[in-house]
């Protein structure tokens, strides 16, 4: 599945999508950034509720395919602008983390 397809799922929308064709392989869920960097794999969807600017660098350096913000949390515009410029996809799901992850189950 590509990031663009993920963005089309019910309750999901793209806040930034500079790399829509990126393939998704696997999911990692977590809010502690060093755990994410230690455990997430390249091309994972990273599901989190953290919205501060540092998530952009973490997603970029850990090479995840996109950040998927659960619970409808929204970052500041400056975070989205940075993500757009750095080629980091940020999607948002209105649902809580568990439901968000379950929705991905059949695709990854």
């Amino acid at each position: 599945m590509t990031v663009q397809t993920l963005a089309g799922l019910e309750g999901v929308r793209a806040l930034t999508c500079p790399e829509p064709e990126r393939e998704i392989r696997g999911v990692y869920i977590g809010d502690l950034l060093s755990w994410v960097m230690g455990r997430a794999e390249a091309d994972n969807v990273w599901i989190t509720i953290m919205t501060n600017i540092n998530i952009v660098a973490v997603a970029s350096l850990a090479d995840t395919s996109c950040i998927l913000l659960a619970e409808g949390v929204t970052p500041e515009q400056s975070v989205l602008d940075t993500a757009e410029a750095k080629g980091v996809n940020i999607l948002q799901s209105a649902k809580p983390i568990y439901e968000t992850a379950m929705q991905l189950r059949e695709f990854v």
Binding site: D31, L32, L33, S34, W35, M37, G38, A42, M50, N52, I53, N54, I55, A57, V58, S60, L61, A62, D63, K86
Partner: protein, 140 residues
């Protein structure tokens, strides 16, 4: 042996929002050089963890990256408080990060262990009250 490519970056200790810029720069350089994605990922994460540590724990410092034919070396120097017990600092879960930093998602005590895991060699030299120098090597 041929001369390495050398890059030096100041790491600003006051600016938490721009922390990680040096690592992002290095990632770009390594991409341009055509290194494989997993190696780039290892170098980038190890350097970012070290860079963030200099910002959070040491008030900034300097990052130097040397790219040789068969390895990449990352040297992080700061004049921060130093690490009194390196063995303890290296343990997963050990952190002295303050609450305001934890609320940003840092402070899990996983940074130094990640740096060790993602590199082929890592050395910490530290003196309390003087500073810390961390040298990491990733083989190509």
């Amino acid at each position: 042996m041929s001369e390495p490519l050398k890059f030096t970056y100041p790491v600003d200790g006051d600016n938490f929002t721009s922390a990680g810029q040096a690592s992002v720069q290095v990632k770009k350089v390594l991409r341009r050089l055509g290194l494989d994605p997993e190696t780039i990922r290892r170098v980038s994460i190890a350097m970012y963890e070290g860079e963030i540590n200099m910002v959070i724990h040491a008030g900034g410092g300097e990052a130097e990256v040397l790219i040789y034919e068969d390895n990449v070396q990352i040297i992080l120097r700061d004049k921060g408080p130093g690490i009194a017990d390196i063995e303890q600092a290296m343990q997963e879960g050990f952190s002295t990060a303050p609450d305001n930093i934890r609320s940003l998602g840092f402070g899990a005590g996983m940074g130094l262990p990640n740096m060790k895991r993602y590199t082929d060699d890592m050395r910490i030299e530290s003196e309390v009250g003087v500073g810390t120098t961390i040298t990491m090597r990733v083989d190509l």
